[in-house]
């Protein structure tokens, strides 16, 4: 029984990692997959994998503190960073998610709470997979260099690269979700003018003319709308399946609503994420300083990056 349980759990974790691989390969977000329904993801399982990936990156980051601090301080920094990096991304997501959902709804998006959750989890999967893949390089430089500004900027650079790729994935997936949702929504039936019910004889002639004209206008507009939907459907049917998760849909301009949502989310996530990293610091620990779980609140992330750049350039 215990062996069966262990086997089941092992299969579960392998399944989650396989799903992560499918996200990276673009299979989960392919047009063919998304036409079957909403983004299919084992959200809870993926979150476990993402926390693991974030911990791995935290482990690699903390090598700087481990090799530049005497005694137990380095080990304390290692464990603290392994917890803080997942916390950073989780808290940033929790803070930005409600406003993202509301902005989405305000601009007319039909994405439900569930769809949005899955979309963000998938985007975070891409971000953290890329970030974790840079972990060995960060660990190497953390071990071999004693310059705190250099390591800080290196981590900022890799986080920026991972963030950029995660945003690109979010953008393309959001676009594909919008397209497939539009395909799934049936066009309203057109009302031919010849089927309009004849007006009652006791109505005035003017009212008859106005009503008749109004009915013709409405039917014309509905016909136009259904024609547009039909054209879109024909265009969508001719869509080329993109080769990767980051490829744009050829021949289709990004929907303006999607652009608006994207801008809101990028700005919010970047600002909140960078300031959250400042609040949760230190992640790598300064040489010569004692271990502290959280540094005092002073200055800001952007000022710190600027000072690090100046320090490196000898200013």
């Amino acid at each position: 029984m215990a062996h069966t349980t262990t086997l089941h759990r092992k299969r579960g974790f392998i399944h989650w990692v396989t799903e992560l691989d499918r996200i990276l390969r673009g299979e989960t977000t392919s047009l063919a997959s998304m036409r079957k329904g909403m983004l299919e993801l084992p959200v809870a399982g993926l979150i476990v994998v993402l926390l693991g990936l974030a911990s791995i990156y935290g482990f690699c980051m903390a090598f700087f503190g481990l090799f530049n601090h005497a005694g137990a301080a380095g080990v304390q920094q290692l464990f603290a960073s392994m917890v803080k990096v997942p916390m950073l991304f989780a808290l940033t997501l929790v803070v930005t998610f409600p406003s993202l959902y509301v902005f989405n709804a305000l601009v007319g998006s039909r994405l439900t709470l569930r769809s949005l959750t899955r979309l963000l989890v998938a985007a975070m999967a891409v971000l953290l997979a890329v970030l974790a893949s840079f972990g060995p390089i960060v660990a190497f430089f953390s071990v071999t260099t004693t310059s705190h500004p250099f390591i800080m900027l290196l981590n900022v650079l890799f986080c920026a690269i991972a963030g950029f790729l995660g945003m690109a994935f979010l953008l393309q997936t959001l676009h594909r979700m919008t397209l497939t949702e539009r395909e799934a929504t049936p066009a309203p039936p057109a009302l031919p003018a010849s089927d309009a019910k004849p007006q009652a004889a006791e109505e005035s002639a003017d009212a008859q003319v106005i009503d008749g004209a109004q009915a013709m206008d409405d039917s014309a507009q509905t016909t136009e709308a259904s024609d547009a939907k039909q054209q879109d459907a024909e265009l969508d049917a001719a869509l080329t399946e993109p080769q990767s998760a980051l490829d744009p849909i050829e021949g289709r301009v990004l929907d303006q609503h999607v652009r608006t949502v994207f801008r809101c989310w990028v700005i919010a996530f970047a600002l909140v994420g960078s300031q959250m990293s400042w609040v949760l610091r230190p992640f790598i620990g300064k040489p010569g300083e004692d271990f502290v779980l959280f540094s005092p609140r002073e200055s800001s992330f952007f000022e710190a990056v600027w000072n690090a750049l100046r320090g490196l350039l000898g200013g």
Partner: protein, 239 residues
């Protein structure tokens, strides 16, 4: 299709000959490998290890072979393959993830083999250039000039290896142009890591006026900061 000899020594040289010549991977015949026909990765790793070992031994022979200087020969023979392989290993995870994200996963095995084959070519080229280094050491006793000459040998080997790299990558790029971007990104990342790795693993040549050690006493440092400070100091000195 070329059939390699069963004799191990002959097979070694025939394989090396195939690797250096502009032959397509199909010349290796049907090999059971997920990357299709072509040299096996473990064989390529062997060429990297041996070629770099030979050149490293030559590099470390600057101070001669007497007493402790023999240790420098041995250290350098280990360090050059370590430099190449460790730098490559560090860039592999991000190369894999980025290939997957860009939709190039199906070609990953072939792309990997193209890169490893290029490293093997560099190693063979370095081994071939080792006699030049020996002659230089014999005719010029300055440590500074020895450093520059070895830098030149590495540059020649790296430059010459661009041809087989392009040749191996050309079918991949024709299949999907994103391979070109991925290759450039990998080269930048690899050079970024390798420069720091080389700094950490020094000395490779061994200053005869200093004692022989595997690492320098001041080894923990950052190559980019040192070079940056030198350049900045030179610029400030001009004004």
């Amino acid at each position: 299709m070329t059939t390699l000899s069963t004799h191990p020594v002959r097979r070694f040289f025939e394989g090396m000959h195939l690797l250096l010549r502009p032959v397509p991977d199909e010349a290796y015949g049907s090999v059971s490998s997920i990357a299709g026909p072509g040299p096996r990765l473990r064989v390529l790793a062997m060429y990297i290890a041996l070629g770099d070992f030979m050149y490293g031994a030559g590099m470390g022979a600057f101070g001669g072979f007497a007493g402790q200087r023999m240790l420098q020969v041995f250290f350098s023979a280990i360090k050059v393959p370590l430099l190449i392989m460790a730098s490559f290993a560090l860039t592999l995870p991000s190369f894999f993830v980025l290939n997957t994200l860009l939709g190039l996963r199906a070609d990953f095995a072939r792309a990997l083999r193209a890169l490893v084959a290029t490293q093997a070519t560099v190693a063979i080229l370095l081994a071939a250039l080792a006699p030049y280094t020996a002659v230089w050491y014999w005719s010029n006793g300055t440590y500074h000039h020895a450093t520059l000459f070895n830098g030149l040998m590495f540059a020649i080997a790296a430059f010459a290896a661009q041809w087989p790299l392009r040749r191996r990558y050309q079918p991949l790029i024709q299949r999907n142009p994103k391979h070109r971007k991925m290759l450039r990104a990998w080269i930048v990342l690899y050079v970024f890591v390798a420069i720091q790795m080389a700094w950490i693993l020094r000395p490779f040549i061994g200053d005869p006026t200093r004692s022989t050690t595997f690492f320098r006493e001041d080894t923990w440092g950052n190559a980019y900061l040192i070079v940056g400070e030198l350049i900045w100091g030179a610029i400030k000195g001009l004004f």
